[in-house]
């Protein structure tokens, strides 16, 4: 993403999903040293490279499936269960979440509910992608599996719908294959080592979660407050609620955050500028998207 965009408080004005930073940076144009909502089109700085962007990001992020596979198996899931999650759920944060609850011997119901709740943001990505990809009929069934942070980021960064479709397809395929192969490798590898703790695998989940929300923590004060409140709420209730439930309870922090800080942008102008800005962003450079991915 363009340097500086993260620091911009105005970014909070954007109420659209914020899967990764690069796609957001381009929505704003420099305005007297500050950035403001994109008032008009600007030309892309370089030709679109949808396939290259998608493959690059897919490889870079997909490799971290090793971490999931290893963490899942050391949590008590079988190799097949780890692979089933990567094949069928294909959304990293939810996968790590379920594995974490299972590792701590928590309630499977609460673990499942938390994992599914974490996947709710993909609905918002789907809404935006549907505007651009316009998937029809049964094609939506396979396409839906690929609606995650990374595909959304690369797809929305393309200058036109044709490039967007290529980007979505390339990112989805590459990430899906890499993530699943990496999961299998990590799962098989973890079964052969001794104590998972001696390899520090118990830190993989917490570090991954932190890395996933890091870009959003930098994006605004509300995000930081919500994160702190969510963590505090979960820790405070850990000793009195069944394992897994405190994490779900943390969603109330998000509710409070959403009610307390209504995005200033409900205005039609902001909405239309978002729409108009589609296609004007720079595509993210492959591999430099950094943390913030999910399919992880």
């Amino acid at each position: 993403m363009p340097p500086g965009a993260i620091r911009d408080r105005h970014q909070q004005v954007d109420n659209s999903p914020r899967p990764m930073e690069p796609m957001d940076g381009g929505r704003w144009t420099v305005d007297g040293g500050r950035r403001s909502a994109n008032g008009g089109p600007r030309t892309a700085d370089r030709p679109p490279r949808p396939v290259r962007d998608g493959v690059g990001l897919g490889l870079a992020v997909g490799v971290s499936g090793v971490a999931f596979g290893a963490a899942a198996v050391s949590s008590g899931l079988t190799v097949w269960q780890a692979s089933a999650l990567s094949l069928l759920a294909f959304t990293g944060a939810s996968q790590f979440a379920l594995a974490g609850v299972i590792a701590s011997g928590g309630s499977l119901l609460a673990g499942t509910a938390g994992a599914i709740l974490l996947g709710s943001r993909n609905t918002l990505y789907g809404l935006r992608l549907a505007e651009i990809l316009r998937p029809r009929g049964l094609f939506r069934l396979p396409a839906a599996l690929g609606v995650i942070d990374e595909t959304t980021a690369v797809t929305l960064a393309q200058p036109d719908p044709a490039a967007a479709k290529k980007a979505f397809t390339a990112t989805f395929w590459c990430l899906y294959l890499t993530w699943n192969l990496a999961t299998l490798g990590g799962a098989l590898g973890a079964g052969r080592i001794g104590s998972p703790q001696s390899f520090g695998l118990d830190v993989v989940g917490p570090a991954a979660f932190l890395a996933l929300i890091w870009p959003r923590l930098k994006a605004g004060r509300t995000e930081r407050l919500v994160a702190l409140a969510g963590a505090a709420l979960a820790l405070a209730t850990t000793s009195v609620l069944p394992v897994g439930v405190p994490v779900i309870l943390a969603a109330t922090a998000a509710l409070a955050g959403a009610l307390a800080s209504p995005p200033a942008q409900g205005s039609p102008a902001a909405a239309s500028s978002r729409r108009a800005s589609f296609g004007l962003e720079e595509a993210p450079a492959a591999g430099k998207t950094g943390p913030g991915g999910d399919a992880t």
Binding site: S16, P17, V61, A67, L85, L98, A144, P206, A251, G290
Partner: protein, 105 residues
């Protein structure tokens, strides 16, 4: 079928349903700013909570393991230094592993 398999498949089904919903429901339904804002903040709250709980607790008890805390601290340093996702995780795990090998419980 074990309970774990049911949890795995239910998670997969639920996550898929959320994805499919985005492609199929009318755009307007979830377009309300507050709803969008909530959905944006949900992962922030949940992932922060997960990170905290998995770092500092074990079951229903607090469990402040020095090596694990140091690993998470190393992850923060890596993030501040803008390390990519995978490197952040490797640094965190390696830090905890090295400390444990050195005798830090």
């Amino acid at each position: 079928m074990t309970a774990t398999w049911i949890a795995v498949l239910a998670t997969a089904a639920g996550c898929y349903a959320f994805k499919l919903a985005g492609l199929t429901v009318p755009q307007r339904i979830l377009a309300a700013p507050r709803v969008r804002r909530f959905a944006e903040l949900v992962p922030v709250a949940l992932l922060a909570a997960l990170s905290a709980v998995q770092t500092a607790t074990n079951g229903q008890a607090f469990d402040l393991d020095p090596a694990r805390l140091a690993g998470l601290g190393a992850a923060v340093v890596a993030l501040v230094l803008r390390a990519p996702f995978l490197l952040v995780i490797v640094v965190a795990a390696a830090t905890a592993a090295v400390l444990r090998a050195a005798g830090v419980s």
